[in-house]
């Protein structure tokens, strides 16, 4: 996306965004085999300006995906391997006493890995909540306070966290407040047979080298701005509102599945995330507006980590994805008269 600039028409920029995203997918595909949905969802998070939590079994390429993505982007990449003994200062950095050339001693900030642009928080659930929370401010405020001094992050600031759902011993599950800060929670599935075969071919032969850098910081910022400019009609916004409200079991008229399986539903931040992610989807789809289908498409990754299951829901093995699917089926997209006319 070398051509084009902010002075160009929306239409042209939209075309460029499509081309750029296609190139980005192609570049990631240079390393990552398959996982198209995971790649797409990660891109939604990147373009929408949110953070992404990747959850999957070890060895499915989560870390590789993030590293590949960072390689494709002309951004500063840093990786934090979360361990139980990781300290907050290990994440944020700290002031250290240094002796200057003139022999004078003074404190100098030694920035931690959080001061990157693409942050890989690997196995984030292995660190203590204290350390996990050190990442919270940075994720939410795009700033970090060290020794009383607030330090802004360099934009774009994009956190990609991974967690392993099967090794739960010695882990600290992320608190709901922190989970809410992730725009999307992407489930990384196991590769298919073909994908596995391709992975074996690629990883057991000669090194293929690094993927090309296809997106500069400015271009990414332009795409993010473009994403924000995607239009959303009021009926679509209302649908998003109805959708999120229906996920709250205390809302009158909430679906029976929600009442039975959930203890808490999504909040305002969930609705915001729903619309933002939908905008990214629309943009990547070449549209200047969001549709009901976009909302439904992003509903699972946006809401699955925001819905807190009830005891009954957990006991019955009802997943949040099932609840979201139920909401997609039960929440009407259009006003009732139009819905009735369509039904005839």
């Amino acid at each position: 996306m070398t051509e084009g600039g902010s002075g160009e028409s929306f239409e042209v920029r939209l075309v460029l965004a499509q081309k750029t995203s296609a190139k980005l997918r192609e570049a990631i595909g240079f390393v990552i085999v398959g996982q198209n949905e995971v790649v797409d969802q990660t891109l939604w998070g990147l373009l929408a300006g949110g953070h992404v939590l990747l959850e999957g079994a070890p060895g499915l390429g989560k870390t590789l995906l993030v590293r590949t993505l960072s390689s494709c982007l002309d951004l500063k990449f840093s990786r934090i391997q979360f361990t139980p003994d990781l300290m907050p200062s290990d994440v944020t950095g700290t002031n250290i006493l240094v002796t200057g050339a003139d022999g004078a001693r003074h404190f100098t900030l030694h920035k931690g890995p959080v001061f990157g642009q693409v942050i890989l928080a690997d196995e984030i659930n292995r660190a203590t909540p204290k350390t996990q929370s050190s990442l919270l401010e940075a994720m939410q405020e795009h700033a970090c306070t060290i020794a009383g001094t607030r330090h802004a992050m360099e934009e774009p600031f994009f956190v990609l966290a991974t967690e392993n759902p099967i090794e739960m011993e010695g882990t600290y599950p992320l608190p709901e407040a922190q989970l809410d800060r992730f725009l999307l929670k992407v489930i990384v599935p196991s590769p298919t047979e073909d994908e596995m075969t391709e992975i074996l071919v690629r990883t057991t032969g000669r090194e293929r080298g690094e993927p090309p850098r296809v997106l500069s910081r400015d271009e990414l910022m332009m795409l993010r701005a473009l994403c924000r400019d995607v239009a959303v009609a009021e009926p679509v916004l209302r649908y998003a509102s109805r959708f999120v409200r229906a996920s709250d079991p205390t809302t009158p008229g909430a679906p029976e599945l929600v009442k039975r399986a959930l203890r808490f539903g999504a909040g305002v931040r969930g609705a915001q995330s729903l619309v933002l992610a939908s905008k990214a989807v629309a943009m990547l789809d070449g549209r200047a507006h969001v549709s009901f289908a976009d909302i439904q498409r992003v509903a699972k990754p946006v809401l699955r980590h925001r819905l807190i299951r009830s005891f009954e829901g957990e006991a019955d093995g009802i997943t949040t994805d099932q609840v979201v699917a139920g909401l997609i089926d039960s929440v009407p997209t259009r006003p009732e008269p139009v819905q009735q006319a369509m039904a005839r």
Binding site: F10, A233, E234, P235, H289, F292, M342
Partner: protein
Amino acid sequence: MLPAANTGSTTGFKPSFARWSRRVRARLALGHVLTGAAVGLLIGAGATAVAWKTRNGPLRPGGAVGGVLGAAVGFAVARRRRWSDPHVALYLDARLGAHETIATAVELEGQAGDDGSARAVVISQATAALAQATSKQVRAPLFTPWHAAAPIAAAAIGYLCWIPLPPAPPAAKAPPGADKVQLAQVAGLEKVIKLSELDARDESQKERLRKLAEEAKRIRAKLREGAEKREAQADIAKLRDAITSERLSLGDGEQRAGMEAALGKMAANPDLKQAEKALGDRDLVKFDEEMEKLANKLEKKDREQAKKTLEEAAEAAKKAGSPDVAKELAQQKKLMDERAKKGEMLRELAKELGEGLGEDGKDALKDFDKSGGGKEQQKLADKLDKALGKMTPEQRKQLAENLKKKMASAPEQEGTGKGPSKRELKDLADQLDTPEGQQQLEDQLKKMAEAPPPGSDEAERQKALDGAQEGAGEAEGDVGGTPMPMPVAGGKDGKDGKGGPGKDGKDGKSGPGQSGHSDGGGPGDHKGQTGVIEGGDLRAHASVKINKGKPMPGMVMGRSAGRAGDTANLVGEGGIGNAAPGEIGGIERSDVPEEYREQVGRYFQPK
């Protein structure tokens, strides 16, 4: 995924959207109108069905108005529920698969923006989507299952307007007798009207007879104008009651004691037993007949004894304050000799004729000798007349000679009971001597054969009243009623079932008792009538000896007030009229077994 027309102008969106939205709204409105019309027609069909059922024929087509009204209501509803632009846009998006492009465009269309914003792109894409739309794609749903009811309901209305109205429900049946009856001539009432010409016993009876005649005239006039059947029947029944009352008026009321006294005297003479019974029953015709029989049958000695008894009875009646009864008895006493003389004359003539009388004549003579009744006398007179008619002048002369010869052995005095006296035989012989005398004798015999011998004044009066009563019965039959058989004291001999007031008897039998009413075969409506029941042993009850003339001991004769709602244990309220004379003593005359009569009588005892 940008449409090919993405460079199109944004100015084309508004008219394009307006055009499509008009079509969508028009079809939606039409759908509402059709729904309203269908509902209206259904209601109209119901109303038409009700109009048809209630036989309001002219209102039936009004059901179609329901369709028009329904359509109007549907149009009003369509206007009220008119879709807004976002609704239409969402509908178009869904129909065209435009991913809410049109809905977004509608929203952005009114906002300011430049080519750098999404507005232009969205509107351009929406315009392109609308440009590619076809009528078929965006056609709003028009018909619903409800609409199928419209032609059905319309057809139903048409059918209900076409078919004839249901037959009128049968009108409520008028109460029995409520129908009108109009008769130009009622022959039966004429007999009652003639009562005014009857020789009355006294002034009070004359007045009563006049009133009866007046009432008959009033009823006649009423029937000529037309009156309710039941009202006319009630009037005639009252008239009959009044006639019956008048018929039984001798020795009634204040004169009852005299009557009882006279009856007591008569009971002492065994020869007068039947006569006493007839008088007790107030059957003066029968009483007269009995007296005539006695006059013809009894020897002079017995006749004298009977005359004495009658005289004593008349005296007793007079003393007990019953001059009318005394007068009747005195007249009977006077008639007895005359009747005896006439009977002896007929017997003598018959004996002299001998074989010339023929077998029939001889039988008639035997019957006359046996009973001495008026009918037998009539029959004998007829035979004598015929026998004389057959005789030659010589034979007649010979007959006169024979009578003259018999004068020698005839008693000097008349009414001895041993045949005619010398004078009577001489008169008879003189008659037969000359042609004029013979003619005169024949005329006398003819007269005697044609009509029964004249009775007493009271008997003649009662005959007239009987005729009037029959006339009232005939009048009752003429107005359509079935006259109740009026049990009169003593009754009359049946006349082949025709003598009864009902005119419907066919098989009446001769003999004393009820008049010629029978159980069926009359012209009236016999629906509901039970069949004739073989009486068997029950006939014994019907023929038991009942004294129809004598009231029950302690009974109050005359009219007495009854009360509506009375039962055996409950005193009712309000008068229901008076007991008719014919009803008094009805228990004794009824078929109620004797062992129950006292109980039944108490129940019907007038208060």
